[in-house]
């Protein structure tokens, strides 16, 4: 703020905060943790300027709980954390999933497990982002590869969350979170902003979990305090929102929730294919690793290797169609990750034995280098 030009040098965490505000986010509750803290600090400063509110809660569980509460009043809400805090938030993420409360949870990944290396980058929470809470549940996980993309992708995170009444996990790595790049700030009018569907019926006709009143998957959602007087619970519930343990109703609820992952898939899948048309070897990469991948692919081409890149920004739902299609035409897919090999498992699954899948791992608290990927590409 304060800078009048629309091209700005921003830190990844700053872009995350400002992009969220641009998306309409007006409530943030958080608890400090490296390397995500700048998001909270920035929002403590800018939210009240736009009439929004910031609160630092007593812990991460309270933070996610507060944003779910705030979201129920109609406010777009967000929290941000890193590994240890993300682990603590898992129970309430499940609540948001079953009660279908839109909210965005940012996790700026650092080296784990436990306290690990708080200041160093990692990509070791990508499986946790999908499977961290108990029970079957839907969740969308996005992961930007640059500061500019952080700004626009966090807007998409809110759009998806509102559109599908689903918690969206926004995974960044410490490198993206802390580095500064140029961001061309879109004009507010330019941004596509999605807001949750609200009921158009009279309060007495409102069935808060009747998906048929919406698009068949997502029921319209009333704001607390507007006379709809409805009930929300983390128990399995029927269309009225009240608890049920009747088999068909439980089944219908869990399956409808799960179906969001499928139904939303196309709309929420952001994958850039770079030089993949004629590639005979592909790199599958995300986050900062995709940047190393891009350089490696360029360098590989320069030295005569026809490499291509799947730059994956939607980690979940996993873009298996992309992978399967590529798998059937390349000799190998190289999957560099700053972990012991997590999403490579999905790549293996999706490729169904059609190609060789090569896992490149790095867990020494430094990002994977273009050279590491390049040598793998040359070796295949």
């Amino acid at each position: 703020m304060g800078n009048k030009t629309s091209i700005r040098l921003m830190q990844g965490n700053e872009a995350c905060a400002e992009g969220a505000v641009a998306a309409g986010m007006r409530f943030f509750a958080g608890y400090p943790i490296t390397p995500s803290t700048e998001i909270a600090e920035e929002l403590a400063f800018i939210l009240p300027k736009v009439g929004g509110k910031f609160i630092q809660m007593e812990d991460e569980i309270a933070s996610i709980s507060a944003i779910i509460g705030a979201s129920l009043t109609g406010a777009k809400s967000m929290t941000a954390t890193s590994g240890p805090g993300f682990s603590l938030k898992q129970e309430s993420i499940g609540f948001a999933a079953i009660a279908e409360v839109p909210c965005v949870i940012v996790n700026v990944m650092r080296v784990g497990p436990s306290t690990g290396v708080p200041t160093a980058p990692s990509q070791a929470d990508v499986m946790q982002a999908r499977w961290g809470t108990h029970g079957d549940h839907p969740v969308v996980v996005l992961c930007p590869t640059s500061v500019a993309e952080t700004y626009t992708l966090i807007v998409e995170a809110f759009n998806i969350s509102e559109r599908w009444r689903i918690p969206v996990i926004f995974l960044m790595d410490e490198v993206i979170g802390h580095m500064r790049e140029k961001v061309a700030i879109p004009d507010p009018g330019e941004l596509n902003i999605v807001n949750r569907a609200r009921p158009r019926c009279k309060p007495e006709d409102y069935l808060p979990f009747d998906a048929d009143a919406g698009d068949g998957v997502v029921p319209p959602m009333a704001d607390f305090g507007t006379g709809y007087r409805y009930h929300l619970t983390g128990l399995t519930h029927d269309r009225t929102g009240f608890p049920t343990t009747k088999r068909p109703e439980v089944d219908a609820l869990i399956r409808r929730l799960d179906s969001k992952m499928d139904k939303a898939k196309q709309e929420v899948t952001f994958v850039d294919e770079v030089l993949t048309e004629d590639a005979d070897i592909a790199v599958f990469a995300y986050g900062i690793t995709a940047r190393a991948g891009a350089r490696a692919v360029r360098d590989a081409r320069a030295s005569g290797v026809s490499a291509g890149l799947l730059k994956v920004k939607t980690l979940w739902p996993f873009p298996e169609e992309h992978v399967e299609r590529i798998a059937s035409k390349v000799r190998a897919i190289v999957v560099p990750e700053m972990n012991m090999g997590q999403l490579v498992r999905e790549v293996e699954r999706a490729s169904k034995g059609k190609t060789k899948v090569i896992s490149l791992t790095r867990v020494d608290a430094e990002p994977i280098s273009p050279q590491q990927i390049l040598s793998a590409l040359k070796e295949v």
Binding site: E204, D205, Y206, R229
Partner: protein, 94 residues
């Protein structure tokens, strides 16, 4: 979803001072035991019943003590006056 209306009590203030919702009563005996006028009764294994209407002072104790929200004591006459009177009555009178 069912929403309660904004209407007041639907019952006639004079005829039945105490109304017990049979469907909600779980038969805990609290109203029977707390009624200072011994108005109420409960058959073994059954629901509470108004046995001696005529003794009821509409003191309201049974209503506020019923854990199942199953009792409604209907104020007689001018409801406002009656209410404050009832409120003033001690629940520890027993």
């Amino acid at each position: 979803m069912q929403k309660s209306g904004n209407a007041g009590p639907v019952v006639d203030g004079d005829s039945r001072p105490v109304i017990i919702n049979d469907r909600w009563c779980k038969g805990c005996d609290i109203c029977v035991s707390f009624c200072p006028k011994n108005v109420l009764e409960r058959p073994e294994g059954g629901k509470a019943q108004v046995a001696r209407v005529e003794d009821c002072t509409r003191c309201g104790i049974c209503e506020i003590m019923c854990p199942d929200l199953a009792i409604q004591v209907v104020p007689a006459g001018d409801r406002k006056e009656e209410r404050s009177g009832a409120r003033g009555g001690s629940v520890h009178g027993k």
